[in-house]
Each structure stands twice: as C-alpha cells, then as structure tokens.
C-alpha cells in the first residue's frame, strides 16, 4: 500500500518535472522581444538592453528555466513583463477565484448528475429514460460559454435577478453567492450532463452484479440495496470521471471567466496572452497543469480507500 502511494507520488513528480520543461521551452521559443514589445519601436537599443537585463531575458534558457522552476515552487514566480509587478500574488489571487468557481461548478454538476444519473438508471426501461438520454446529449453538445450567455440573457437581462458579471470575494456573503451563481451554473450544467451519463452507466452496471441480487434475495428493498451496496461500488468510476471533469472544469473556467468578467486564472491568462506577458503565461499554464496532475494523483490515491478490491497489489 505504502509502496503504491510512493510509486504514484514519484510518477507525479516526474510528470510535473517533464511538464515544466515542456511549458518553459515551448514558451521559450516565443518569437519577438518582450523588452522591445514593452518599450516600443521608439526606444533606443541601450534602453531595450537595460530592460532585457532587468527582466532577465538576456540569459541562456537553461539558467532561466532553473530560476523559474525553483521560484515557482518557492512562491517567487518573477516579475510580470507587462505590469512590472510580482507574478506570484496575481497568480495566487486568480487561483483562489478559479478554485472557488470550479468548486461551485463541480458542486452544481454533482447536484445535477447524481440524482439524475441514479434515477435514469433505476428507470432505464421506461420512456423517461429516453427523455433523460436526449436531455443529457443536448447538455453535452452546448458549449459552456453559450450556456453562460443564455443564463445572462435569462437571469440578468430578462429577469434582472442576478448580476451579468463581476466578482465579489467570499467575505461579501450574499453578494458573493449572487456573483458566483451564474458562472458556476454555466460551468456545472454542461459537466453535470456528462457526469450524469457516467453515473447512469455505473449504476446500471452495478445493478447487474451478483452481490446486488444477493442483497435483494436476503430481503432488502431495491432502494435499500442500491443505497447500502450499489452506490459505493458505482462511486469508483464516477469518482474517476469526476477527476477528469475537474480538469475539464478548470479549462472550462478559462472561457467562463471571460464571459462573466471573473478575475480568475483564465481571464488573467487571456490578458497575459494579449500582452505577450511570457512569465505570466508560463506560471499560469504550469499552475493549471500541476492542478490537473494533483487532482489525478488524489483520485488515484482515493480509489483504493473507496473500493477495497483496488488495495490488492497490482
């Protein structure tokens, strides 16, 4: 068990290392000179050279990589080329916002997916099962930013219930909830449809297992058998898909933040791309990749806790 955990953590560390190399060297070939881009064509070569030295872009790539990666994990991500302010506080602030939004999105997705998926599995031979399949197909086909625009049109423009954009920190209480409601709903609706399909498939699979027949044979009602024996087993594939969906939600948040003008990682990344702020792009992309890998690692470690059969040495 401990060996398995260590092995997975080792694979995670190696993957993070290789991913950091890919991120850094991919962006290291960025054409153009960030110092020249900032100072404009009117600036003299001396001024540009001075800024190059100040930004550190005149040094060899391997040296810059080592500095950047060590700084990344010690909280010093360098200075933004565009704003000349430290990158780390901006990335960490944006990360907090994105994580809140993603957690809200995954909350909405689970609230939709679990009841709908279970219901659809239990009633799979009835007409409402077909209706469910159609609805979830439609949900999967709608881009989350379109869902966001439609939600704005309905709840902000037509009904005037919720703000169409902007952000408030959690300390603002009700105002925070009013601002996160629509973006989280837009994120969660589409991913909820995907998750619901997997939940339905997992519950259907479990319902055909021998232990479910045994549970029924010893007198448990269908609902009790499902709750006491079925759901725990159906949870393993659902958890795996949720982890994949978590990664999708982080990426989905990039677009949703732009729709709702939320100051998260996504909108900061898009702004950095527009400003060609290399160091900011590197840090945000690395942050997202580490986050995705970390979630995958956690799910890998959690699966044996939920399903004892997976504790067997592979």
């Amino acid at each position: 068990m401990l060996l398995n955990v260590l092995r997975r953590v080792g694979v995670f560390a190696v993957t993070v290392f290789v991913a950091s190399l890919v991120v850094f060297f991919l962006l290291g070939v960025l054409p153009g000179d960030p110092a020249r881009a900032q100072l404009g064509l009117q600036a003299s070569e001396e001024q540009v050279q001075a800024l190059r030295e100040q930004l550190g872009v005149d040094r060899p790539l391997p040296v810059r990589y080592l500095e950047w990666i060590m700084g990344f994990f010690t909280g010093d991500m360098g200075v933004s080329y565009a704003t000349r302010s430290p990158v780390a506080p901006q990335v960490l602030d944006a990360l907090q916002v994105t994580l809140l939004l993603v957690l809200g999105g995954i909350g909405v997705a689970i609230l939709i997916a679990l009841p709908l998926g279970i219901l659809a599995a239990v009633r799979h031979q009835r007409p409402d099962g077909t209706i469910f399949s159609g609805l979830s197909q439609l949900g999967i086909s709608i881009p989350n930013f379109l869902a966001g625009l439609l939600l704005i049109a309905i709840f902000s423009v037509a009904l005037g219930w919720l703000p169409s954009g902007g952000w408030q920190p959690p300390i603002a209480g009700v105002d925070f909830l009013r601002h996160i409601a629509l973006p989280a709903l837009a994120l969660g609706l589409v991913n909820g449809a995907i998750l619901a399909r997997y939940t339905r498939a997992a519950v259907l699979e479990v319902m055909r297992e021998d232990f479910m027949r045994t549970a029924r044979a010893k007198g448990l009602k269908p609902a009790s058998a499902l709750v006491r024996h079925g759901l725990r087993n159906a949870l393993v594939p659902v958890l795996t898909v949720t982890s994949i969906e978590f990664a999708n939600l982080i990426i989905g948040a990039v677009v949703i933040e732009t729709v709702f003008v939320v100051p998260g990682l996504g909108s900061t990344l898009i702004r950095a791309v527009a400003n060609r702020d290399l160091i900011m792009i590197q840090s945000i992309v690395m942050c997202v990749v580490v986050l995705v890998l970390l979630v995958n690692l956690l799910v890998d470690l959690l699966r044996p806790v939920i399903d004892p059969r997976l504790r067997m040495p592979s």
Binding site: L149, A153, I251, V254, T258
Partner: protein, 295 residues
C-alpha cells in the same frame, strides 16, 4: 428409423438455445439522427462555398441589429452583417478544424498506440508514460499557449487540438491492439514469422476500425466545441473569415438589446456537436453492442 425433430432457429427462445441479437444492417436511430445532423452541417458548408444569401463580411451601418426579414432571414448583427450568411459560411471552419484535428490526432496517436501495444514491456511502457504527460495538457490550454507563441490562426488551433486528441487516441488504440494481438489469428501470424508491420496492417487496423471511427466522431465533436471556444476568446480563426465562436463573442456585447444574435450561431454549434456525438454513440453501439445496455 427415427426422425430427428426439426432444428429450431437460434432466435426462437427455445429452452437451451442461445438468443442472438439480430445482426444490424441499417443504421441505428442514433446513427441516422447523428448522420442527418452532420450531413446538414456538411451541406451548409458546401452550399456556402457557392452561395450565401448576402456577403457574410459586408457591413451595413444603416441595418444594424435588424430583425429577421425577407432580406435578412435571421436579422443582422451589431455591424449590420447578415446573420444567416455568417452562420452558413461559419460552418466551414468547424468542419475544417474537425478534419484537421482528427488527422493530426490520428497521425500521432495511432502509431504510438500500436507501437506501445506491440512493445508492451519495453519502449511501449515509456511511450505510454510520455502519452500520460501529454494528457496532462488539456487541449484548449495547449491551443491558448500555441496561440500565444505563434499567433492565433486556424492552423495553430488544428495542431494544438490534434496534439490534445492524440493521447486519447493512443490509449484507445493501444487497448484495441492488445486485444487483437491476443487473438489466435495474430498468434498464428506471429508463429508464421510475420513482422510487426504485416500484423499492424493485415490484422490490427482492420479489427480496430470500429473504435477508430468512433474516436474520429468524438474527436470532431471535441474539436468543434474547442474551436468555438478559441474563436470566442479571440484566439481561433482570425477575421474576416466567418466563425460561429466569434459570432458569439460579437453577440455578447449586444446581448442586452439583441439576444437573438447569440442564439443562431449557438444553435449551429450545438447542432454540429450533437450530430457528431450522436453519430459516435450510435457507431459505438454498432461496433460494440455491449455498450448499448449501459448507455
């Protein structure tokens, strides 16, 4: 002389007989529905090559945000461009991006998957580790990074989305190839001294064509969604080429006064993605009937 009772057909349900599912010749309802939607989008793209109601790039300051009329079937956008013409012309980019993404994804993923399966314990293990690392980069994130490096363009989007699709293709192909390699005919071919290229071309590819077609259909749907998202962010197909994603971006600024401007391109994206998703699901049922029960 005793006469044997006539043999009952296998589908009769007689005790002891095995009920076989009827062999499907035509399309399932999902394949028909998905195929119809996809054919509709392809038709739109083909028609737009030779005809659109108006010039999709022509602006008309007098007729900004006009309601649907005989001249402008779906109305006009904030710059007075004809929405119907833009929706028609906008169907070309998603199909092109879908085709390119699947081509790039398969060109990279297919050989990786087959080689990884054939050299499962040596190079194959390392190939799949590399594949796992590539999988840590979500396709849309990769596309944003490449747009930052090389500038936004359809080609950049295709390469990034193709790279994003490749790890999934490699994984599915590896699993399919491993199954084929464990079959008797593959073992017989190996025993007869056939090389890996012969095995891949003669046995693996024909037997995994089902999962390849399904993967291509799903890849198309993913690419259309991602291209729309990239264009919405301003990192996809640059103007003046019509694109559903950019129509949605333009529509957001006038959402308060003209919500219909986002409805048409939005519906077009949803229909195209729905078509490819249904087609993928239907084909999956057809090639692997076991999936139908759990879907």
């Amino acid at each position: 002389m005793t006469t044997l009772p006539p043999r009952l057909p296998l589908t009769s349900g007689a005790p002891g007989s095995v009920r076989r599912p009827p062999r499907r010749r035509g399309g399932t309802p999902l394949v028909v529905a998905g195929g119809t939607l996809v054919a509709g989008v392809v038709l739109m793209a083909l028609v737009s090559l030779v005809w659109t109601p108006q010039d999709p790039t022509a602006t008309d300051a007098v007729n900004r945000l006009a309601a649907p009329s005989a001249q402008h079937w779906l109305g006009t956008d904030g710059l007075g461009r004809d929405i119907a013409s833009m929706v028609l012309a906008g169907s070309r980019v998603p199909l092109l991006v879908g085709l390119g993404t699947v081509a790039v994804g398969f060109t990279i993923g297919l050989p990786i998957g087959i080689v990884a399966a054939m050299t499962d314990r040596g190079a194959g293990m390392w190939l799949m580790r590399g594949n796992d690392i590539l999988q840590a980069f979500p396709a849309l994130l990769l596309a944003i990074v490449l747009a930052a490096v090389f500038g936004p363009s359809t080609l950049t989007a295709v390469i990034a989305l193709g790279l994003g699709l490749a790890p999934g293709v490699a994984r599915v192909v590896r699993s399919g190839t491993l199954q084929v390699l464990s079959r008797e005919y593959s073992l017989a071919a190996r025993a007869a001294g056939r090389g890996p290229v012969y095995l891949a071309v003669r046995h693996v590819l024909p037997n995994i064509r089902g999962i390849l077609i399904v993967q291509a259909s799903v890849g198309f749907a993913i690419a259309i969604l991602a291209e729309a998202a990239l264009s919405f962010l301003g990192l996809g197909t640059p103007p003046p080429t019509a694109s559903w994603g950019r129509m949605l971006q333009d529509g957001q600024s006038v959402l308060q006064i003209a919500p219909l401007t986002v409805l048409w391109p939005g519906a077009a994206v949803a229909v195209a993605v729905l078509g490819f998703n249904l087609l993928g699901d239907g084909l999956r049922d057809r090639f692997d009937p076991r999936m139908e029960v759990t879907r």
